[in-house]
Amino acid sequence: MIKQPQIDKIGKSDRKGRYGEFGGQYVPETLMHALLELEKGFTEAMQDESFLKEYHRILQDYSGRPTPVTHCGRLSREIGGAQIYLKREDLNHTGAHKINNAVGQALLAKRMGKKKMIAETGAGQHGVATATVAAYFGMPCKVFMGKVDVERQALNVFRMKLLGAEVIPVSGGNGTLKDAINEALRYWAANVEDTAYVDGSVVGPHPYPMIVRDFQRIIGDEARKQMIEMTGKLPEAACACVGGGSNAMGLFTAFLKDPVVLYGAEAGGKGTDTALHAATLTKGRLGVIHGAMTYLIQDPNGQIIAPYSISAGLDYPGIGPEHAHLAKSGRAHYEAITDAEAVDALMALNRLEGILPALESAHGLALAMKKAKKMRPDQSLLVNLSGRGDKDVRTVMNYLADSKGNEGGSEQ
């Protein structure tokens, strides 16, 4: 399962912004001022009733919260195990959980007197969410996106442009998410004085993993209450997909002190026995990426390897540092789900419940279906359905066409 890292003495310290040995602030000095200012601004904002009130008001009036919890009766019966419940983040404005964080960070930027916003995006969901709140608040916005992702997510690129954002294609490295993050951080370093960097996941240097988690914990806080109302008790288990891990952290945070088993599904791609996956916790080693110490996929010399997943939202070579800590301490359990398993789960949810999940969320659902099988029908398992699958229709179509062509071949 999880490889024990060889922890070198270099860089170990007991500072804030740490989750066990993970996290920290591994960034150029030019960014330290901005991070310290952001930490202070965030801490003050979260203690300010009027800030929190405004954040919740926008989520309610604009995004449509609280999102419902849906019981999947037909799916649960077919599996023959635990009752599966979905937290419907796909029903948020812009179609994913990303909006919760974007609203929070944009509101914070405004409060801190920043004039412009920048963000990075892989599949485009965080880019669309940030461009949306930028339009809502009337702030100029630049979105950094890998060149390869710009090409394969043309629809989301167009949506961001409609929203008035400038999309900046990044050709460095492999032209995917990790390179977009590098470029966004580089741009930020040059423009820290008037620009807010809206980080999209529980990754990056402190305080970002904390900020994104705290703006996403609304998912778990709502779901916990809703489950008790619906079933009279806590769920036995909760499950979510992890790329960087923001929707999972949002769900898990509410249950950390409860006797609820936590499962994270990471992208197994074509299988963790191949080189084509993004299974950071299953196959990664301790290292530093984008300003944080965590597990990451790298070569023996410490160069970062570009990951792979059918889901552009999960192909990130690192993982949020708090997840690394939850994995190492054994509080949460992470398993790799292959492309094939995710697509099967996506099809099952469509066929049995009439819901099209994002490919990211389908990874979480696939793991939940495996676990539910081993549980009793009087038990319940809560899955965070982090986003809707409209953006992935073409990918799924191509995947199914390909796998049909390969039938009788190497299909697993």
């Binding site: 003495k9 150029p28 000095e29 330290m32 741009y187």
Partner: protein, 273 residues
């Protein structure tokens, strides 16, 4: 006296500290470039370790990293390359510029063993701010390697004092916000920033980021003790990749780079040392 101490104690005008990327375009070319820079009057050499995700670097150095990585350059190979340079007459202090992850993967013990064997004088880790560098700083001290600290115009007064008081070798002052790369203009507050640094720092002050002309160096003199030039040199190297790769055409390309440096950047009076 260690090379690093000797370097910072030398009485002279502005110290010239060039940066080149190890393995760009080849290991042999890097060693020859280093030799040329020494004879052109450099005071120390900053040797960049290529990295896949260089957060603090602009396009020019990012591309140099990509070229060097394609040639298979690693931290270990670069350290051993310095040893080879030493046996061929490299006398300058050599500062290894590496992002933290390659160093972490090599491990502290191995790094310092190799650093000693190959006579490394300094270490600069651009993504390891003061808060994260305490342990490495102590280890550097123990192994007689200077850990070079950076400060920027955005560094607060209080931070500046703490960083300056524990800095080793010289203090690296970032002239502008953002990443490495040639710039026409400095940050508007750069001179008052450098003067502020001067009042709290007992070490020599060197300025880097964006320096590509003698005019800029002249502007800085009186406010700093040295200047670091990276992207300007690396782009001269990039323009001559093919000729620097071929041992037959290399000497002429090296001579061209040297002439350009002398014309654009260096005081004409610099004598061969």
């Amino acid at each position: 006296m260690s090379r690093m101490t000797e370097f910072v104690n030398k009485e002279r005008g502005m110290m010239f500290i060039p940066f080149i990327t190890a393995g760009d375009p080849t290991e042999d070319a890097t060693m020859e470039l280093a030799k040329m820079l020494q004879s052109a009057g450099a005071s120390a050499l900053e040797l960049g370790i290529p990295y896949s995700d260089p957060l603090a670097d602009g396009t020019v150095i990012q591309k140099a990293s990509q070229r060097a990585l394609k040639k298979g350059m690693t931290l270990l190979q670069a350290l051993r390359m310095v040893g080879k340079m030493r046996s061929r007459g490299m006398k300058l202090p050599v500062i290894i510029f590496t992002y933290f992850n390659p160093l972490l993967q090599m491990g502290q013990e191995k790094f310092f063993r190799e650093a000693a064997e190959n006579e490394i004088d300094g270490l600069l880790v651009p993504d390891l701010p003061f808060e994260e560098s305490r342990e490495l700083e102590q280890a550097c001290h123990l192994h007689n390697v200077s850990l070079i600290s950076l400060v920027a115009p955005t560094t607060s007064e209080q931070r500046l004092k703490v960083i300056a008081s524990s800095a080793q070798g010289f203090l690296y002052c970032v002239s502008s916000l953002g990443v490495t790369g040639v710039r026409k203009k400095f940050h508007p507050a750069v001179f008052s920033f450098l003067d502020r640094v001067r009042t709290v720092c007992r070490l020599p002050i060197a300025v880097g980021f964006g320096i590509s002309s003698r005019d800029q160096v002249d502007e800085l003199s009186g406010h700093a003790d040295g200047f670091i030039v990276g992207s300007a040199i690396v782009s001269m190297i990039a323009d001559r990749t093919a000729r620097l790769t071929d041992p037959e055409t290399r000497p002429k390309a090296l001579a061209e780079i040297r002439r350009m440096l002398e014309d654009k950047l260096l005081d004409q009076k610099v004598e061969n040392s």
